[in-house]
C-alpha cells in the first residue's frame, strides 16, 4: 500500500495542470459564460490532451485509466473553473461502459471520446429537473428510479435558465423516459459514482485555488503598515481552511481508490467525499470574498465565480445533509 500518486499519475496531474492553467484562463472562461461551454477548450481536452477517452478501455479507443485519474483531471479542471462538460461526459462514459450495451456504446462513445458529442447528465429528484449544460448538449443522461436513460437532446424539451454558475449553466428539462440502458442498477450506480467523484474533485481543486489566491493577496495587501496576512485573524482563518482542504484531498483520493479497487468502503467514501469537499469549497470561496474585502465583491474579480461554482456543486447529485444521512445509515448498520 502506498497512498500517494504514482509516477504516471503525477505526470497526468502535471499535464492537466499545465493544460488548464494555459488554456482555461479567466478571460476564456468569462467569454464562454455567454454560451455555456468553451467548445475549443473541450475539443482540445478530448483530442490534443487525449483525455476524451480517459476511462474508456484501450480496445474501445480510450486510455484505459481509472477513477484516480478522473479525480486528478477533474481537480485541475475545477481549479480553473474550466467551462467544459466534464461532469456529464464522465457520468455518461461510466453509464455506457457499465451497461455493456454494444449498440449504444458504438453509437455514442467514439463521438464522445472525440469531443464531438456533448452529454449533459442529471438526476431526477423532487421538483422539476435542472440539468447542467442541458441547453448545450447533444445527448442527455437522466438518472432515476427506473434506471439510466440516454436521450437525444432534440427529443426533450429544454428550457435554458439564467443560472447562478454561468460557467456551467442549468436548464430545465422535460423528457419522457424511454427504455433505460440495460444492466440493471449498474449504469445508474456507475454514473452517480463517477459524477460524485468528479464534483468532489472539482470542489477540491476550486477550494485549493481559492485558498492560494487569497493567500497571495494576503501577502501583498498592506494595511496598518504590514501585510494583512501577518494578522492572526487572517492566518487562523486561512489555516483552518488549509486543514479542511487537506482532509478534502484525503477524501477524494480515498473515494477514487476505493472505486478502482472495489473496496468495501466505496459507498461510504463517496458520500463522505461529496459532502466534505462541497462544504469545504463553500467555506473557502466565502472566505475568499471576505478576506479580499471590497475588491472581492466586484464582478471583475474572480472570487464570485468560485463562490457560485461552490454553491452549484453543493446542490448537485445530493446535498450535504443527504450524503451525511447516507453515511449515518451505513455506520449505524441500517438497511439502505
Amino acid at each position: 500500500m502506498a497512498f500517494a500518486l504514482d509516477e504516471q499519475q503525477e505526470m497526468i496531474a502535471e499535464t492537466a495542470a499545465a493544460f488548464f492553467a494555459e488554456n482555461a484562463t479567466s478571460e476564456r472562461t468569462r467569454a464562454a459564460m455567454a454560451s455555456g461551454i468553451d467548445r475549443d477548450l473541450w475539443r482540445a481536452y478530448c483530442r490534443e490532451l487525449g483525455f476524451g477517452g480517459l476511462m474508456v478501455p484501450e480496445d474501445l479507443g480510450g486510455a484505459g485509466l481509472g477513477h484516480v485519474e478522473l479525480a486528478i483531471v477533474a481537480e485541475q479542471a475545477g481549479r480553473t473553473l474550466a467551462a467544459i462538460p466534464l461532469l456529464g461526459h464522465a457520468m455518461a462514459t461510466a453509464a455506457l461502459l457499465a451497461s455493456d450495451d454494444r449498440a449504444a456504446i458504438d453509437a455514442h462513445l467514439p463521438a464522445m471520446v472525440a469531443g464531438d458529442r456533448i452529454v449533459a447528465a442529471g438526476e431526477r429528484g423532487g421538483e422539476g429537473l435542472l440539468v447542467p449544460h442541458a441547453a448545450q448538449c447533444d445527448l442527455l443522461l437522466l438518472l432515476g428510479e427506473g434506471g439510466a436513460h440516454l436521450i437525444a437532446a432534440r427529443a426533450a424539451t429544454i428550457e435554458p435558465m439564467k443560472s447562478l454558475d454561468e460557467t456551467r449553466p442549468l436548464a430545465r428539462v422535460h423528457a419522457s423516459a424511454g427504455d433505460p440502458l440495460p444492466g440493471g442498477a449498474a449504469p445508474c450506480e456507475a454514473a452517480r459514482a463517477a459524477g460524485v467523484l468528479c464534483l468532489a474533485a472539482e470542489a477540491l481543486g476550486g477550494a485549493q485555488e481559492a485558498l492560494d489566491r487569497t493567500v497571495a493577496f494576503a501577502q501583498e495587501r498592506e494595511q496598518f503598515g504590514r501585510p494583512v496576512g501577518s494578522f492572526q485573524a487572517y492566518k487562523h482563518r486561512l489555516a483552518d481552511r488549509a486543514v479542511e482542504i487537506e482532509q478534502a484531498r484525503s477524501a477524494v483520493w480515498w473515494a477514487a481508490c476505493a472505486l478502482d479497487e472495489r473496496h468495501e468502503t466505496r459507498a461510504l467514501a463517496l458520500h463522505a467525499a461529496k459532502s466534505f469537499c462541497a462544504d469545504t469549497y463553500l467555506r473557502v470561496a466565502g472566505d475568499m470574498i471576505q478576506l479580499h474585502g471590497g475588491i472581492g465583491f466586484t464582478w471583475e474579480h474572480d472570487a464570485h465565480l468560485f463562490f457560485k461554482r461552490a454553491r452549484a456543486i453543493a446542490n448537485m447529485l445530493g446535498d450535504g445533509p443527504h450524503h451525511r444521512e447516507r453515511v449515518a445509515r451505513i455506520m449505524l448498520d441500517e438497511a439502505a
Binding site: M1, A2, F3, A4, L5, D6, Q9, V68, L211, V215, A218, Q219, R226, P227, G229, S230, Q232, Y234, K235, H236, L238, A239, D240, A242, V243, E246, Q247, R249, S250, A251, W253, W254, A256, C257, A258, E261, H263, T265, L268, A269, A272, S275, F276, P321, R324, E325, V327, A328, M331, L332
Partner: protein
C-alpha cells in the same frame, strides 16, 4: 495509488492480532482496555517487558537494537492491531516512539549502546522535560539551566506538564547551557536519571480528577557530560528532530482508540434512541467522516516518505485530530444527556465518554495548542508573514 495491503502484510496482521489477542485475553486481561495513562503502572511495566520478549516493543527499530526492521506498512499494521486488541496505552511511548528514534538518528554509538537496549527491553521508562511555567507555547523561552561541574552537568530549574514522570526512570531535558543566550540559542539536550536527590516530582491534578502530568523540580540534579545528545548549544535542533517523530506511526494506533470511542457514542445513541434523531444522525455522520479522513490523511502523510516532514497532511494533522476528538467529547455528552454527568458513588474514575469529554479539552492544548498549530500552518505551510515578536 493503493488502499489495500499485500497478502504478506495481511499475514503479518493476522500474526500480530493473534499474539495480541492471546495476551489480552490471557495473562494481561486485567489491563485490557485501560484508556488512561495512570492505572496499574506496575502491570503496564510488566506488559512493556512482555512486548520486548516477543520483539514487539519497537518493531520499527533496527534488528541489532531489538527491533524487527519492520517496514512502514508493517508498523502501521501493528499499531492498528495493538489498539484493536485493546492493549493499553504504551507506558514507554516517549522512549520507544520519541527518544529511541532520536538516538538512532543523532546519538553517539556510546549513547546508543547505553540507552537503547533498556528502552527496547522495557526496563527504562522515559518522560519528556520540555515545557516550563514560563515556556509553554513559546517553548524556546526555557530558563532551566545546566552548568558544567567537572565531568557532570548540574541542573537547576523547573519543568511542568511532564506526563508520566511519576512512573518514569529517566527524563530528557532541554536546558540552557550558555549564559546570556535567549530563544533557541544556547540550549542543550540532556539525558537525566530521575532517581536522585536533586529531583522532586509533584503530580498535578487535572479536571478529570486524575494526575497524569507533573511538575519536575531540578535542584542541583546531575548527569554525566556524555549524556548530552548532539553538540552543546544544539539542543533545539535535537528537540525538533524528536518532535518530528511524534507525528509518526503511532497516530494510526491512536485512531483505533478514537474508533472505540466513536463506537461507544454510537452504542449510546442507539440505546437511548438519539440514533433516530436527524440532527444527531448528521453529527454522528460528521464524526464518522472525520475519523475516516484522519486515517487516509495519516496514510498520505506516511506515504509521503519524508517521515514527519512539516508539510501538507503532516502539518495539519495535530489540529485535525485534536479538534475532532474534542468535538466527539461534546457529541458524546449531548448523546448521553444527564446520564453522562453521573457515575456510581464509589467509582474511582469517570466512565469512558465522560472522561473523553473532560480529557479532550487537553488535546487542543498539549503538544502545541490549536492557536500555535494555526500559526505554524499559516507561516510554514502557506508562507504567510510571521507575527512581529515582542522583546521579552
Amino acid at each position: 495509488m493503493k488502499l489495500g495491503f499485500s497478502d504478506m502484510e495481511e499475514a503479518f496482521r493476522r500474526e500480530c492480532a493473534s499474539w495480541l489477542e492471546d495476551q489480552m485475553a490471557g495473562e494481561f486481561a486485567d489491563i485490557r482496555g485501560i484508556a488512561n495513562l495512570v492505572d496499574k503502572p506496575e502491570r503496564r511495566k510488566a506488559w512493556e517487558r512482555r512486548l520486548a520478549e516477543h520483539r514487539y516493543s519497537c518493531i520499527g527499530w533496527p534488528i541489532a537494537w531489538g527491533g524487527r526492521d519492520a517496514t512502514l506498512n508493517e508498523q502501521v499494521i501493528f499499531a492498528e492491531e495493538y489498539a484493536r486488541a485493546g492493549a493499553p496505552n504504551r507506558l514507554n511511548h516517549m522512549g520507544v516512539e520519541l527518544l529511541g528514534p532520536t538516538l538512532l538518528a543523532l546519538g553517539s554509538s556510546e549513547q546508543k549502546a547505553r540507552f537503547l537496549p533498556a528502552i527496547a527491553e522495557g526496563t527504562a521508562i522515559w518522560c519528556q522535560g520540555y515545557s516550563e511555567p514560563g515556556a509553554g507555547s513559546d517553548l524556546a523561552a526555557i530558563r532551566t539551566r545546566a552548568r558544567r561541574d567537572g565531568d557532570e552537568w548540574v541542573i537547576e530549574g523547573q519543568k511542568i506538564w511532564t506526563s508520566l514522570a511519576q512512573f518514569a526512570d529517566m527524563i530528557f531535558v532541554l536546558a540552557r547551557t550558555e549564559d546570556g543566550t535567549r530563544g533557541r540559542e544556547g540550549l542543550s539536550f540532556l539525558l537525566v536519571d530521575l532517581d536522585q536527590p536533586g529531583i522532586a516530582i509533584r503530580p498535578i491534578r487535572q479536571i478529570n480528577g486524575e494526575a497524569e502530568f507533573n511538575e519536575v523540580f531540578f535542584d542541583g540534579a546531575r548527569c554525566p557530560v556524555e549524556n548530552m545528545v548532539g553538540a552543546e548549544g544544539e539542543g533545539w535542533t535535537v528537540s525538533t528532530t524528536l518532535l518530528s517523530f511524534e507525528r509518526g506511526i503511532s497516530t494510526l494506533g491512536q485512531q483505533m482508540q478514537f474508533r472505540n470511542e466513536l463506537d461507544a457514542v454510537i452504542a449510546g445513541a442507539k440505546r437511548n434512541g438519539k440514533a433516530a434523531d436527524p440532527v444527531f444522525r448528521q453529527r454522528l455522520a460528521e464524526a464518522e467522516i472525520g475519523l475516516r479522513l484522519m486515517r487516509y490523511g495519516a496514510l498520505r502523510m506516511l506515504a509521503d516518505g519524508k517521515g514527519g516532514a512539516l508539510a501538507g497532511a503532516a502539518l495539519t494533522y495535530k489540529i485535525q485530530w485534536a479538534s475532532w476528538r474534542r468535538a466527539l467529547g461534546e457529541l458524546a455528552m449531548d448523546v448521553l444527556g444527564q446520564e453522562g454527568e453521573v457515575a456510581p458513588a464509589d467509582a474511582e474514575a469517570w466512565p469512558l465518554l465522560t472522561n473523553l469529554y473532560l480529557y479532550s479539552r487537553a488535546d487542543t492544548i498539549y503538544g502545541g495548542t490549536n492557536q500555535i498549530q494555526r500559526n505554524l500552518i499559516a507561516e510554514r505551510g502557506l508562507g504567510l508573514p510571521r507575527e512581529p515578536r515582542g522583546n521579552a
